[in-house]
């Protein structure tokens, strides 16, 4: 892993169009600003892991049981009745 020392307001540049700026340095945390193109998604690491792992879990699906589908169909029916 590349390790770089930076002070407040200094930045690092990744590729041509991603910038990470150190905004604030505290006792047990730093605040970073990230500037990236709109097609680059930026997440806190733990959030990325949580969503990626949920997505992975959803690929190993079995066909839904009729109990689940029936309950959802009832709900849809109720919603359209309410309209």
């Amino acid at each position: 892993m590349l390790v770089l020392s930076r002070r407040r307001e200094e930045k690092i540049v990744i590729g041509d169009d991603i910038e990470v700026v150190v905004l604030q340095v505290g006792q047990d945390g730093v605040k970073l600003g990230v500037r990236a193109p709109s097609n680059v998604t930026v997440f806190r690491g733990e959030i990325y892991e949580q969503v990626a792992s949920a997505n992975r879990a959803a690929t190993a699906i079995r066909p839904p049981s009729s109990a689940v589908l029936d309950a959802l169909r009832d709900r849809k029916q109720q919603a359209s009745d309410a309209d």
């Binding site: 709109s38 690929t59 839904p64 689940v68 959802l72």
Partner: protein
């Protein structure tokens, strides 16, 4: 007409049905083109199939079926990515994990997929401050 061989059987689709998720689904950056398939066997769920990687086939649900007032606040970058204008109506999809029993079934309401049907663009949006989880119980969702 093209065919994607999913683990649940082949599905046919038109190229005009393909929408583009720039950057891919979270954790699957090489899966950027998807189709949404209606199927009476799983209705009101729908299949979301990656045409780049047809082994990735998800069952998705409209989150508003679970939470009638479910809302997504998009950040400017996300609106730009989706090429959304104020007049566009978006389509919301939550990825589900449905098992044998109703109790086990969950939907990811923390990171729904937002589709702009006008531009055929989509993004999986992470709602950082959401009260909902990535494994929100599917059928208890609106009870609380």
């Amino acid at each position: 007409m093209a065919i994607a061989e999913t683990p649940h059987g082949p599905i046919e689709y038109q190229s005009s049905q393909v929408f583009c998720m720039d950057g891919g689904l979270v954790g699957f950056c090489d899966a950027t083109r998807f189709v949404l398939i209606e199927n009476s066997e799983v209705e009101p769920l729908r299949w979301l199939v990656s045409v780049d990687r047809p082994e990735l086939a998800f069952l998705v649900v409209d989150p508003r079926l679970l939470i009638p007032d479910f809302r997504v606040h998009l950040r400017d970058e996300e609106r730009m990515r989706l090429e959304l204008t104020d007049d566009d109506d978006v389509l919301l999809l939550a990825i589900t994990v449905v098992g044998e029993t109703s109790e086990e079934a969950t939907a990811n309401l923390k990171a729904p997929i937002v589709v702009n049907p006008r531009k055929m663009t989509a993004a999986q949006v992470v709602l950082i401050d959401s009260e909902y989880s990535v494994h929100q119980p599917l059928l208890a969702a609106s009870a609380g």
